[in-house]
């Protein structure tokens, strides 16, 4: 009962803060977008040179530090890692690739839906399909292997990087890129964005809010606990948008969006499948990074690398749509994800062993 109340409150706060952040300057329907914000950070550090999406987003810094401080306080901080780090890096890259085709992480998909962007309605079933593919692997024994306890310094790496980013943001040295136009130039004031990140970091650490877990648990066990948080984000953001005049229903000319339905759908299928295989949606990866899980940090770094890859090679979606090369990336991503899924699935491996035993 208590857990249910908390997850609904956490979801509601995320929805409300998202509306406030947009009112105060964030790009439309982008109060929170973990993929977009990591992409912006990647650009600010010069890893890609898409001039309109470069900014050291304080929300990301806040999410990691909020989770870190809370985990320390409740003694849940634990440095762990070593569970297939290279594959996790790739899963992060692919998760970002799918998100940059659709133009948003699962959280932004919910926020776009709440803002009346019906393209997100096309993407949602794609996301659910991706998570469903993921559960097929889970049912057959997919695992990236157990993580091991590590020296504490491994766990501090993520929060340390967040603090370095914060220092770079405040001091704004010449080698950091800040967009002068486009979404990267739009942001609510620092105290709001950082504060919102910290608050959501605290709440998400306490409740395990996860947009992938919400769908996965429904499919696997008909358990709707995390789904309540997912619904709360949507309901509160939608009410907030209606009250503040930010609700603009339709497909065409939505902010930072395109109307290529097939690629909106399949881009989010990539994100859903990658999130199940990586054990959490982009936001959850940041929270786990704050809790000391270096496996999650690797996934986040993979996302930053993925953003650079997508923008440097002109693969990311844009309001004009998805380029042919971007379309190929979706197909290649799905193939790679199925290979990673199958290669780490016990029953498939066990079947092969049986065949070998029979043959001998």
């Amino acid at each position: 009962m208590r857990d249910r109340v908390f997850i609904i409150i956490a979801g509601a706060v995320v929805g409300l803060l998202a509306v406030i952040l947009v009112l105060q300057g964030n790009p439309a329907n982008m109060g929170f977008c973990i993929a977009c914000f990591i992409r912006d950070i990647s650009g600010a550090l010069g890893l890609h040179r898409a001039g309109v999406v470069q900014y050291l987003r304080p929300e990301i810094i806040g999410l990691v530090l909020g989770s870190f401080v809370t985990a320390l306080y409740v003694r849940e901080f634990k440095a762990t890692g070593g569970s297939s780090p290279v594959l996790r890096f790739f899963l992060g890259m692919l998760m970002m690739a799918g998100a940059l085709i659709f133009l948003g992480c699962p959280l932004r998909m919910v926020l776009r839906l709440a803002g009346g962007d019906w393209n997100a309605m096309v993407a949602l079933p794609g996301y659910v399909l991706g998570v469903w593919f993921g559960t097929l692997f889970l049912r057959r024994g997919y695992t990236l292997g157990r993580s091991q306890e590590q020296a504490p310094v491994n766990g501090y790496a993520g929060p340390f990087m967040a603090i370095v980013l914060l220092i770079l943001l405040v001091t704004a040295p010449a080698f950091i890129f800040f967009s002068e136009e486009g979404p990267g130039s739009m942001s609510a004031p620092l105290f709001l964005t950082l504060g919102a990140g910290l608050l959501v970091g605290i709440l998400a650490q306490r409740t395990r809010l996860c947009t992938m877990g919400a769908i996965r648990d429904l499919i696997l066990f008909k358990d709707y606990h995390l789904f309540l948080g997912f619904v709360a984000i949507f309901v509160v953001a939608m009410i907030g948008n209606l009250f503040t005049g930010q609700f603009a229903p339709g497909f065409a000319e939505q902010p930072v969006a395109h109307i290529d339905h097939l690629w909106n759908f399949s881009g989010m299928t990539v994100v859903g499948l990658a999130a199940v295989l990586a054990g959490g949606c982009p936001m959850r990866q940041l929270i786990l990074t704050g809790e000391g899980q270096s496996d999650a940090l690797i996934t986040v770094l993979g996302m930053a690398g993925g953003a650079a890859f997508m923008h440097n090679f002109g693969l990311a979606g844009s309001p004009a749509g998805v380029s042919p090369a971007g379309q190929w990336i979706v197909i290649i991503s799905l193939v790679v994800l199925f290979i990673i899924g199958a290669a780490n699935t016990r029953l498939l491996a066990a079947g092969k062993n049986k065949e070998k035993a029979k043959a001998s």
């Binding site: 009962m1 208590r2 057959r140 695992t143 395990r208 877990g213 959490g280």
Partner: protein, 90 residues
């Protein structure tokens, strides 16, 4: 005050196996996310009545399942649930 018992697993795979192993057994149980007061990680647990937990544990072990831990959780309304680790000679 409501009390129920939980079995946790090292990976989701074993949780799903446990569900299929126990499906035809005369015990009532439900697969749920690991309660927040037991762990901050997002695994899946088996919730059952505390009278049945030993029997369920034995069935699962006989079927070569890997189990992680056993817990009793006391819940009362909006108060913080209290989790205690059970020692079942595992």
């Amino acid at each position: 005050m409501v009390s129920s018992c939980y079995i946790t697993f090292p990976t989701t795979f074993f949780a799903i196996r446990a569900e299929s192993v126990l499906k035809n057994q005369p015990y009532s149980f439900k697969m749920v996310p690991v309660p927040r007061s037991i762990s901050s990680s997002c695994g899946t647990a088996l919730r059952c009545s505390c009278e049945d937990i030993s029997a369920l544990k034995n069935i699962l072990l006989q079927n070569d399942l890997e189990l992680e831990g056993f817990y009793r959780l006391e819940e009362s309304g909006l108060k913080t649930p209290v989790a205690t680790t059970l020692d079942l000679d595992h």
